[in-house]
Symmetry: C2
Amino acid sequence: MTKRKQARTDVVAPAVAERDQRQPIEAIRAAAFQQFAERGYPVVTVRDIMKACGLTQGALYNHFKSKDELLHDIIASTQGELERLCQQAVAEAGSDPRAKLAAFVRVYVMRHCRLRVEALVANREIGWLDPGRVADIRRSRRAIRDIVVGILAQGVESGLFDPPRAGGRVDLKAIAMALLDQWTHVSMWYGPGGEIAEEEMARLYADMALRAVGARA
Amino acid sequence: MTKRKQARTDVVAPAVAERDQRQPIEAIRAAAFQQFAERGYPVVTVRDIMKACGLTQGALYNHFKSKDELLHDIIASTQGELERLCQQAVAEAGSDPRAKLAAFVRVYVMRHCRLRVEALVANREIGWLDPGRVADIRRSRRAIRDIVVGILAQGVESGLFDPPRAGGRVDLKAIAMALLDQWTHVSMWYGPGGEIAEEEMARLYADMALRAVGARA
DNA sequence: ACAGCCCCTGAACGGTCGTTCATTTGGCCG
DNA sequence: CGGCCAAATGAACGACCGTTCAGGGGCTGT
């Protein structure tokens, strides 16, 4: 091989553009999301991104310090919004852990269906960030996981959940990771043209989760 | 940035080597698995891989036609073995769909715990393959998914499974995808130094799956 | 009208990439 | 011991990378 432009043979839709009409910084963010989701951070060049919003390479550096900062910027904004939505959903769901879990799944899954591109980038491309910039993203991910662990703990304590045991005792962290894995990766295969609506996806996943943790009827 | 050697800030363990004693072709495969898992296909250079097994860049091309062929070779071998193991596990599990599902989960999860490096590469790096080479890997993935769909269908038909409904009817394909997502991504976070043994992980995931599909006690 | 500023352009820089190839190595067979 | 050939070397090639920067509009406020 001598050409270097091979695309990820994955997921998602096309993109090219005439000079985007939005604020250039927003146009760059949007183009970067699309391109990173389609082909992956390392093979998307600065030239690609800027061409996709009708500018040239150099203009990127009027808005971002580096390609890496651009990636961090778009991941961090998406991740922060996700964390906020999850907290809000749980807070508004009342005190029953079953309602909390259902509300969490609903928000989380619907967002990963609707904003597939953003979810894909935030979850798959995080590994390309400079080590120094990855810390706050990881913190946010842990925070989201801990919300789930908290709901499960409350459910167990109140006797409303009866989750499976691993090695004699219940490992809520492992269960939370397993559930989050399946909710997160909806964005890898869910297609808006698919047969199932986002609403139905959310309900399906919530049902599976409540069954998996042994929620009382 | 001017240096290009940033590592994925992800997962997995170290590697360097003095001249590997195995057949060079096997040494290259092993080094490539390790490096791709640690840092990701696009940023691992041919020079990196060959240095890791004590050779120089040029020697790769005595054994593989290109870097891309090397990636396909190691993914295809792992993927093929996984498909074989899954088929075998189900075939040996008798006729009860509950036993089939449990056997499948056991084999699938334990393999993804034990061979984390291979699973990581096969699942995460597939997108970097040339489009022409990706077809057979996708076929194998679909085959594995269809094994799960088949087990679920049998369970529903025999009345032993009562899975959740989405939009009025049962969508076995979506359920199978959801379950496979959580089984597959164990390899992303399970650590052999972790508190849970592989056996216990397999049992935990099998329990969750049987509950999720509404298996009769 | 004009200065000042923001933003964009596009050539240029130093570096790294996958791949090729002429050459050298080293083990095996007669 | 000499010939043979598979396998390894490492320089070289052409391409392209992220980033910099001097130069050039086209707004704004006065």
